[in-house]
Subunit: 676 residues, 2 copies
């Protein structure tokens, strides 16, 4: 069979496998797979360096399907090229327990690099992957030993390009001159509401050129040789990312639906699917893949095995020449930490004894950790001086200096989150980000995807309450802390003093999933500790912080009232307990830096901290009180915020809104009266 006839057969096999699966599921998106099949086929068949036999090969090219609704396109490619995704799973598309969910999910399907579907996220993730490649290449490669040498490809849609997160990521990718980053823009002129002309008339190529990208095309999405040429051209671009504009037809081949919005998000229907078979001359039944297609596409397995074997040989030579680097690279790619990685934190215990803001402690912790954990890298959305997240002596990651370790994300919180997730997904790095807590709202979709796909990104948020003062209600977080806690799979830690901050960082770096650190702008006094030691090993072999909540002081075994606080409010609770003690009320103070960690403890431990018999409970936290009923119940009292803050000096704002020892004392006495 002539090459181009075989190619066309393969392309149509992808189209029909996708459309058949959508039809069988009676749900899904056939249009994009049918339109984009030639693009992805050409890329994977001729260029993509991957090994279907080992999706974890470190030096593989990365492929991101940013328009995740085209999931069947990706599943078809994974199945046909020999990944561990059997036809049975394709037939189970969108069914309970299958490996083929509605949108691609990292960790569920072998070969899926990142979880996509919410538009724009994959676009930003791929930028993060390209950054990771640059960082690792400059760190590990030596002359004649190009051990990190791969590219990042993504398929992006109109929807991706309309989302702000993609604009942010594109601008940064241009600024950083990320070649080896090649995007295919699926320019199909159709969106759900109709023609893209309804809402999207911009000149996309001109916009990307303005960002500093190379733009190739537009080319015909059915012309494999044109696609081939465009990819070659893109691979040769230096110091710029590339956008290949590909004109496609959504639902290509469907006689009555191609080029219309109705091909987008619902099955073609048996009748139209039959008509499409006729139109494209496809004489095969549902889920039937011609042998020559299977044989041709499965060559990816051998090619991949060869490519990885070659890399393994080269890695052996590298290991011989640079044994230390090889060891470190292996360790980092495996997500392991060096021995004694946190020794610097222990040293900081000795020096931190006065009042200090948790953001300042965090800065010291970060500096101490990065001395040994060189692959802990990140930066801020233009707030490094305020978030204390720039590490001295590690330079800036810039187009001219990929060896720099401090990133400058610009005022682009959302892309910052998506890029960090891409870096984490790439492997080899532990990314961190930083901004004010109020701006966590700007990056929420990325936070959620970090949690859903279990990525080890660390998100630092400072200026964590009305205590930030004069900037006022626009900048004072109220709902943010609680609403971050509501995201499953995210561990939120709000440390109460310098030592808790050190332990929070220890946890964040050693955990294997996303962690949010919530830190103050204002200074915090060191807490008086009468309960278990905070340092590692302090509580049954662990740090008390890793239990999420613990008895800090006071009240004895049989307290009258329990005061529960987090962050800056724990010291207030402790002062209130002292006032209560003067009146012979036994008040226990519980520091609760992390709800998620506390809730994960055995009931026995939780009951030991919050005795079920003690219903007189007061929570104090300078954020929305919403949710604290979990610990104080229907009988307790909550000191928190139920509206917005105010612009005035921080201590005054805190006092006016009731965050004082006297107010906590009064609340405790009132509640004692009520439950007694």
């Amino acid at each position: 069979m002539a090459s181009n006839a075989l190619d066309l057969l393969c392309v149509n096999a992808i189209r029909f496998l996708s459309a058949d699966a959508v039809q069988k599921a009676n749900s899904g998106h056939p249009g994009a797979p049918m339109g984009d099949a030639p693009v992805v086929y050409t890329l994977w068949d001729r260029f993509l360096r991957h090994n279907p036999g080992n999706p974890a090969w470190p030096d593989r090219d990365r492929f991101v399907l940013s328009n995740g609704h085209a999931s069947m396109l990706l599943y078809s490619m994974l199945h046909l090229t020999g990944y561990d995704l059997p036809m049975e799973q394709i037939k189970q598309f969108r069914q309970w327990g299958s490996m083929t969910p509605g949108h691609p999910e990292r960790g569920v399907t072998p070969g899926v690099e990142v979880t996509t579907g919410p538009l724009g996220q994959g676009f930003a993730n791929a930028v993060g992957m390209a950054i990771a490649e640059k960082m690792l290449a400059v760190r590990y490669n030596h002359p004649g030993h190009e051990i990190i040498d791969h590219r990042t490809y993504a398929l992006v849609s109109d929807g991706d390009l309309q989302e702000g997160v993609a604009s942010e990521a594109a601008s940064l990718a241009g600024t950083l001159g990320l070649d080896r980053l090649i995007y295919f823009y699926d320019d199909n002129e159709i969106s759900i509401e109709g023609d893209t002309d309804l809402s999207f008339r911009e000149d996309v190529p001109a916009r990307f050129r303005a960002y500093g990208w190379e733009v190739i095309g537009p080319i015909d999405g059915n012309d494999l040789e044109a696609l081939d040429g465009a990819i070659r051209q893109a691979q040769a671009v230096h110091r710029k990312p590339t956008l290949v504009v590909v004109q496609t037809t959504i639902g290509f081949g469907a006689p009555n639906k191609a080029g219309t919005a109705s091909a987008h998000g619902e099955p073609l229907g048996e009748e139209e699917l039959a008509a499409t078979r006729e139109a494209l001359g496809w004489n095969h039944g549902a889920f039937e893949v011609p042998d020559e297609v299977r044989d041709h596409m499965r060559r990816a397995l051998d090619r991949g095995a060869d490519a990885e074997a070659d890399w393994n040989r080269r890695f052996k030579a590298y290991e011989a020449a640079y044994p230390e680097d090889a060891k470190t690279l292996r360790r980092d790619m495996a997500g392991e930490l060096p021995a004694d990685w946190d020794a610097g934190l222990d040293a900081l215990y000795e020096t931190l004894d006065g009042p200090i803001a948790s953001r300042a402690v965090s800065g010291q912790a970060l500096a101490a950790i990065t001395e040994r954990v060189d692959n802990l890298v990140g930066g801020s959305a233009d707030l490094a001086p305020s978030t204390n997240t720039r590490v001295q002596g590690r330079g800036s990651f810039q187009a001219e200096s990929y060896a720099g370790r401090n990133m400058h994300f610009g005022i682009r919180e959302h892309a910052m989150g998506g890029i960090a997730n891409g870096m984490a997904a790439h492997g080899g790095l532990i990314p961190y980000t930083a901004t004010f807590l109020i701006f966590s709202d700007y990056m929420r979709p990325a936070l959620r995807l970090a949690a859903l796909s279990e990525l080890h990104s660390i998100f630092v948020f400072t200026h964590d309450s009305i205590g930030l003062g004069e900037d006022g209600p626009t900048h004072q977080p109220i709902s943010q802390l609680m609403s971050l806690r509501s995201i499953p799979g995210l561990t939120v830690i709000r440390p109460a003093d310098a030592h808790e901050t050190l332990e929070a960082w220890r946890f964040a770096v050693s955990h294997d999933r996303p962690v949010v650190l919530v830190l103050t702008r204002q200074a915090l006094p060191p807490l008086r500790r009468e309960g278990p030691a905070l340092r590692r090993g302090g509580l049954d072999g662990a740090s008390a912080l890793t239990r999420g909540g613990y008895v800090l002081s006071g009240g004895g075994d049989d307290p009258d009232v329990v005061l529960i606080g987090t962050g800056s409010e724990v010291a207030i609770a402790q002062s209130a307990a002292d006032l209560l003690a003067e009146g012979d009320v036994k008040a226990r103070v519980v520091s609760m830096p992390s709800w998620e960690l506390f809730d994960a403890q055995p009931l026995e431990y939780r009951d030991s901290v919050l005795p079920p018999s003690v219903r007189a409970r007061v929570s104090v936290e300078a954020g929305a009180s919403f949710g604290w009923e979990r610990y104080v119940g229907l009988d307790g009292a909550m000191i928190g915020m139920n509206g917005y803050g105010a612009s005035a000096p921080g201590p005054e704002v805190l006092a006016k809104f009731g965050f004082t020892a006297e107010n906590v004392q009064t609340a405790a006495l009132r509640i004692l009266e009520k439950v007694r």
Copy 2:
């Protein structure tokens, strides 16, 4: 005094008033006011049509300070041009209870159009204002009666332009051809982390041209005649928004800090402030405004009064020629509704009696309301067919047809929220937006600002739970519902059946603050109602829905257990109650469509719905159970989601995660055993 000397005196008066206030507050941002003073002065002195004596004049030009941290620049302008903002308030900048908070807040300071500070929001708000002007002009103007005839101006910074929300809004503004929208880009080349070159190297003019904007400049920000010319040129542009690129110097005049990041976010310091006085030849003390400056700038009061008087005369003539239009315009600008505006909802009660998705009911309600409430306008982020938010027969709002009432926001949720807020702030319209609940995360900063600034925007979110089915975990909201509830000032309503949906819309339109409607993809059965009537007047003169929660059925006056549900889960609770009744357990079913409305009821009412003596309570909601402790307490049970969902048909997903009558029954029996 020669005109240009007087101009310079005014500009310097603005600079020093701003810098002095920041110095006295010992907090704030002096750099942007000092750099941008000539730009805003030229605009306000020569072009801006406003009336400091009446900030509510409907046909005023709108001015938005998108870089809200430059608040002192705006406060200086408001004070000097004669708004009701006395010098005492300037001296109280950033102090408790003042009218001059850290960032501008709508409703706090006369003349502040929108609350800004979180970057990019003002950019999107101003696009919404320009849209509102177009919509009202095409609706109300008649030949010779240009009664709506104003412009929208905004000052935007590097930070604004980096934020994705601004990119989204800019692309849509270009698509819609919004002339009369003129932005000044404060191109000062400095960001907090240093030179903008660190993270922002794109070609801004080329990017905006790609969006379809006219770009003027760059011009020298200290050259008033160049600014004058640029504004004239911008005013003459047709069918395009305009970006005037202005090169400025942050902290202009400060000998040691001008042009550096240190001029951005902290007081200059007494010494540097004195040196700046010397450098700019400013011989006046702190807060001292030369008489000639005051006299000159206060002319805005007379000019404004004349302009409004002229408009009032023209409006009289308009009123004579088009009395109905005049009446409607007055009413809409006052935020009032026509008589019998909701008669269509009552009519729908008669026809809605079978199972139906709340999104579908919502579509019918919207169609019925807009028949009488013509200024209820909005649209979706490319999900109109799925969110049921396109109103038939009202056309599309497009560059070619400003008379269209359906908006197409594109896949730009964040800008959609910001634009709706701008439309609401403009006045005369009630905007609504629509997307899937999962994507509320994308527009959270806009939702929060709607709440903080008390804007009447209506946010529709459909596909509200794992019940959406096959699209899977990427699209199934878990934390979203609860985290929207955590935003103070936002009323969240999740109706349980068709009739509750009608009442939810009735509330949303008649309320004067932001409302979120949370709706299902799947059909809901009509509920069996044994409690108070849902329709208006049904419960003590009001609809039961406006109480937020009410007794739906079962259990009598002395129930054994209370089952509380929202949305699609209320029907499940009702079935569970039936099962429990078979075992002689008296189960009360409470429908709780809105926590905010319920919590605002008197204690007596709340206790009548949730009797304090009944501690056996079960909540059932297909979202994060997080937070339900508020109503079920430490003794209750919660049936909700504690992790992510799954891709499979909706009914199967709901059942697998425990949203069945049997599971609710079991939980109720278990809890009864525990508390008895």
